[in-house]
């Protein structure tokens, strides 16, 4: 779908350790095709303060009034903590920890068709459901 047709399409910001975010996005695009309205931020070389500021700057750079979903990997890691610490004022920013591939596929598949309040619980359920011990 053309992003211009979806003014409230949620923007994704992947904040992860090392190259995990860029590799996750690369994998998503290998499965679903090229994606827009998504950015990746690595914690490489950033202090706690620096990472929080970088998240705030990326969110400020998202055009329009689009909501932003910040995906992080370890809830107890620098990315998870910085995402909760970042201050976005009145901007609608939701945070999801424990990012994995099933969760991201669900997000990119449904972000244009489901309202955010329905989409986010689906992401949590899909992310958890993707874990199976055989």
């Amino acid at each position: 779908m053309n992003p211009a047709q979806v003014p409230q399409r949620p923007f994704a910001l992947l904040v992860t350790h090392a190259a995990l975010g860029s590799e996750l996005l690369r994998t998503v695009e290998a499965i679903l095709g090229a994606q827009s309205d998504v950015q990746v931020l690595s914690n490489d070389g950033l202090s706690s303060d620096g990472l929080s500021r970088a998240i705030e700057e990326r969110v400020r750079g998202v055009p329009g009034e689009r909501p932003v979903v910040v995906f992080t990997d370890l809830a107890a890691g620098s990315c998870g903590i910085a995402s909760r610490r970042a201050d976005h004022g009145d901007r609608l920013v939701r945070k999801v920890t424990g990012v994995n591939l099933p969760m991201l596929l669900e997000f990119f598949h449904y972000r244009d068709t489901l309202p955010l309040d329905e989409l986010l619980p689906r992401l949590e359920a899909k992310g958890k459901a993707g874990i199976t011990v055989l």
Binding site: H17, S48, A75, A76, G77, R85
Partner: protein, 183 residues
């Protein structure tokens, strides 16, 4: 039980500490020494969320010197929420000795103040001081301002061994000689 890890790391609680060090050393008690955190309860509260996976059942998290976080890592919807606590210095020392303890510092000033105040610091691990304007790279994971360099050297002059090591699986290096050309 002696203090297992005293670490300077501007990220404080994060993956390297929780998993990299916390996995093999299995801390039951973690103290963060930071007056700015003490003055910022909203930010301090974020660290209550952090949980070493390997010590989930018993580890506790505290903010020092005067504000302490009590946290059972198994905190859930049925567990009582952790609370901030004030403790006396003697109670802090007793707890650190009694537990498998980590002490975390956001920079060199905090351990220096502890040492100058009589805290028996013997060794400090310097594991993460990230780049910022005005800082000089000592190692890829250690960048220091002139004030931080002076504080580290003051620690060393007080007899504290400074070890540069980001993860326990990487080699430890004696930091003091590396600081000579940093500022």
């Amino acid at each position: 039980m002696p203090l297992l890890l005293a670490r300077i790391d501007d990220r404080l609680i994060h993956g390297q500490v929780v998993h990299g060090w916390g996995g093999p050393l299995r801390p039951t008690w973690i103290g963060i020494v930071s007056d700015p955190l003490r003055a910022d309860p909203r930010r301090a509260d974020l660290y209550l969320f952090a949980a070493p996976e390997g010590a989930r059942a018993a580890a506790t998290l505290h903010l020092l010197p005067t504000l302490w976080h009590r946290n059972t890592w198994s905190w859930s919807h049925v567990a009582r929420r952790p609370r901030l606590r004030d403790r006396t210095a003697s109670a802090q020392f007793a707890t650190i000795e009694a537990e498998r303890s980590f002490l975390l510092f956001p920079g060199p000033e905090e351990p220096l103040r502890l040492k100058q105040g009589g805290f028996p610091l013997v060794e400090v691990n310097v594991g993460g001081l990230h780049h910022a304007e005005g800082k000089v790279e000592v190692l890829p994971y250690i960048h220091v301002s002139s004030a931080e360099r002076e504080a580290l050297l003051a620690l060393e002059r007080l007899g504290v061994r400074l070890t540069a090591q980001d993860l326990p699986t990487n080699p430890a290096r004696n930091l003091a000689p590396l600081l000579g050309g940093a500022a």
